[in-house]
């Protein structure tokens, strides 16, 4: 039986950890005090780079490299902590902020000190109202204790930290859209380059990192890069808080060393599939990652192994589907989400997500032909890499992986739903009004309107004959 390796979540079950006094009683802010007095900023940057800490938000880019990209000038520099965790399946940052907000704040202060940053923001999604309140209180406590503000602990280093609440838009998790939202605009992504490290918030150099990445910083500075590298694999060092959800017995956040097997995570920690069911597919890195099948269950959970398997580790969120879940409807749900969240700036994403959802609706109502599946695949190919940001790709990757890996199931669904529609029209022994004829919304066979029939089929509930609406 696998055990968790809790570094970030250690003692997190203790409610007093969320307060300054509690955090300090577990050794909190000692690293900050030491860093401000004795450690050179360059040493911290080098140590972060040596540690190989990879961004925990999705892209997996080296955090130390990002810090070293910031120009060494006296220009105003900014740090944005990305707490806009909106990826379906991800809920690790919520847990980290709720249980241990000061660990994040200490990481932000140390990173800002290392990079010479004077203004920091935590961009938290608007839905996390409870967690934002906790952060507000924690930031206030840190100001009172002198860990934030001007001339922190007499070191001459100053930092302002603002908790900024978003208002519900997945796109704001994309780093440049997040900057737009922070500047008070609609969250639209920007053209890259210039990258935010060169030209970001208010045109100044900006470091953007995920909550979990920044939470790791004080541990690395305290224990050194070699200690950090002793966890995980060579290319994916450290521990990772993994969110497991969907059709498993014990969904939740589990902190493990990177490189443990998926089987240990899904069957060991999360308890495996629900009674009487079998796993058919799972997203290994949030809803944007191509799905994997049970055949790939014994792979190690690391950035490189997931990439080799044609998927990605992403934000470290596993969503498990079992045999009660229809894969075409899961694809439709995925496409629906990205269609809703597309900001509409780039045509391939705006139109691609829209038409993919419509085509998948046709699949799920039996109106499609197998040829439509090829069209869906080709639409996905034409979205990937053609937009300012990766929101379109984030739909294209999982949808095309599902169509490729589960093509039989898609074809079966089409055939099954088409035959249901046929038998449905015989039930009432009257002719069903066609889609384009007037009266299409009038009750059809058995007193059920065609629109209602369509909705029920999309929901995967079939159509009880003669249902009264």
């Amino acid at each position: 039986m696998i055990e968790e390796t809790r570094v970030l979540l250690r003692h997190a079950e203790d409610p007093k950890m969320a307060t300054l006094a509690g955090y300090e009683s577990y050794g909190g802010y000692e690293v900050l005090k030491k860093a401000l007095k004795e450690i050179e900023p360059e040493w911290i940057v080098n140590e972060l780079e040596d540690s190989g800490l990879r961004g925990r938000g999705g892209a997996g880019f080296s955090m130390g490299k990002k810090v070293s990209f910031l120009p060494h000038t006296d220009d105003a520099k900014y740090l944005c902590c990305n707490a806009d965790e909106s990826e379906p399946g991800a809920f690790k940052d919520r847990e980290l902020m709720q249980r241990n907000p000061h660990q994040l704040i200490e990481g932000i202060i140390i990173s800002s000190f290392a990079a010479g940053i004077g203004h920091a923001f935590i961009f938290i999604r608007g839905e996390y109202d409870d967690q934002a309140d906790i952060l507000d209180r924690a930031v206030e406590e840190a100001y009172e204790a002198g860990y934030l503000g001007t001339n922190i602990l007499g070191s001459g280093f100053s930092l302002e930290l603002v908790v900024h609440r978003g208002a519900g838009a997945y796109i704001c998790g994309e780093e440049t859209a997040l900057l737009d939202a922070l500047e008070g605009k609609r969250g639209n992504p920007r053209l890259k380059p210039p990258f935010p490290a060169v030209q970001g918030l208010y045109g100044g150099p900006t470091l953007i990192n995920n909550v979990e990445t920044l939470s790791n910083v004080s541990h690395i500075v305290a224990n050194g890069a070699d200690w950090f590298k002793s966890f995980g694999t060579e290319q994916s060092p450290g521990t990772k808080v993994v969110s497991v959800s969907g059709c498993v017995k014990r969904p939740g956040n589990y902190e493990v060393e990177l490189g443990v097997s998926l089987r240990d995570l899904i069957y060991g920690l999360a308890g495996g599939p629900l009674e009487g069911h079998e796993i058919t597919a799972f997203y290994p890195g949030g809803s944007s990652s191509p799905v994997l099948t049970p055949a790939e269950m014994d792979l190690p959970y690391s950035f490189e192994a997931m990439a080799d398997a044609g998927s990605m580790l992403g934000s470290g969120s596993i969503i498990v589907a079992d045999d009660s879940v229809s894969i075409p409807r899961m694809a439709l749900r995925t496409a629906h989400f990205y269609r809703h969240e597309s900001c509409g700036k780039c045509t391939p994403c705006r139109e691609g997500t829209n038409w993919t959802e419509k085509m998948l609706e046709r699949v799920c109502t039996g109106e499609a032909t197998p040829m439509d599946l090829d069209i869906i695949s080709s639409v996905q190919d034409n979205i990937m890499g053609h937009c300012l940001c990766v929101l379109g790709d984030a739909m294209a990757m999982p949808v095309s992986s599902m169509v490729n890996k589960f093509r039989d199931e898609f074809e079966e669904t089409i055939a099954e739903e088409a035959s249901k529609a046929w038998s449905g029209s015989l039930d009432g022994l009257t002719e069903s009004p066609g889609r384009d004829e007037p009266g299409g919304e009038e009750p059809g066979p058995g007193g059920v309107s065609p629109e209602h029939v369509r909705r029920q089929r999309l929901a995967g509930r079939g159509v009880p004959a003669g249902e009264d609406v």
């Binding site: 839905e127 208002a167 008070g184 208010y202």
Partner: protein
């Protein structure tokens, strides 16, 4: 009826109310129904707009938190927090509230409306006293999120079709029921956010309990609140020496 632009419509001579239908189509979902202040839209004149003193102070306080307050032009960073303040005060982003906020921030009301209409949580139409957001994204959908939304609609009399597309008010207009994209609590699936607090995992019957409790002004399902939950792996003391002998925080 399809709205048709009158052939003799001249925007230069038109009165403000001419900009509203029947001549022009109005997207009800994305407009506050406010008449524009001049053409082009003007920044409200502080001498003409009455802003409650406490609201002005609250907004000014937020604006001052952002470094762009010293930048040239109008500082806009506070737009989202300011709209939150308006929404908390008036219940939703009302046309009058937006004009007041625009007056303090010295931006056009149209600018703030453009921001408000982009974000799902900022409402440009009345949203009732209580908000119930039911997650219908992947993990919750697999565990019965759609059926949970059905139950909420059935209990409150909200329109199911509209609830799945941006939200629908209950029959008495007090409760907004809305299907929502992932709320970041897949471990609680199926779950709902009730007045900005998370509850789950919910059974279909819980919908009726929650609505009754909201109407009676009672605390909602305290035993299913997120903050009552422990870590999924329970209390686990690590025996790994690298962890127990670590010199960082969480010792």
């Amino acid at each position: 009826m399809t709205p048709v632009m009158p052939s003799d419509f001249d925007p230069r001579n038109a009165e403000p109310e001419d900009f509203i239908s029947p001549g022009l189509p109005v997207d009800e979902a994305n407009t506050t129904g406010r008449l524009p202040i001049g053409d082009p839209e003007q920044i409200p004149d502080p001498a003409e707009v009455e802003v409650p003193e406490d609201l002005r102070e609250q907004i000014q306080q937020v604006v001052d938190k952002y470094p762009d307050k010293d930048h040239k032009g109008s500082p806009k960073s506070a737009a989202i927090p300011v709209l939150w303040i308006v929404q908390r005060r008036y219940g939703w982003c009302t046309p009058a509230g937006i004009v007041q906020a625009a007056c303090v921030m010295q931006v056009t009301p149209a600018y703030l409306e453009s921001v408000a209409s982009f974000y799902d949580l900022l409402r440009t139409s009345p949203q009732g006293e209580h908000q119930v957001l039911v997650c219908t994204n992947l993990a919750c959908w697999m565990r019965g999120g759609d059926q949970l939304l059905d139950s909420f609609c059935e209990k409150t009399g909200a329109d199911r079709e509209a609830a799945g597309h941006g939200g629908s008010l209950s029959e008495d207009g007090n409760i907004l029921v809305s299907g929502f994209e992932c709320l970041g609590a897949c471990d609680l699936a199926p779950m709902a956010s009730v007045d900005e607090r998370y509850f789950g995992p919910l059974e279909n019957g819980d919908a009726s309990t929650i609505v009754d409790q909201l109407e009676a002004g009672e605390e909602v399902l305290p035993e299913k609140a997120l903050e009552k939950r422990g870590l999924a792996g329970g209390v686990a003391e690590s025996t790994d020496p690298r962890v127990t002998e670590g010199k960082g925080p969480n010792r």
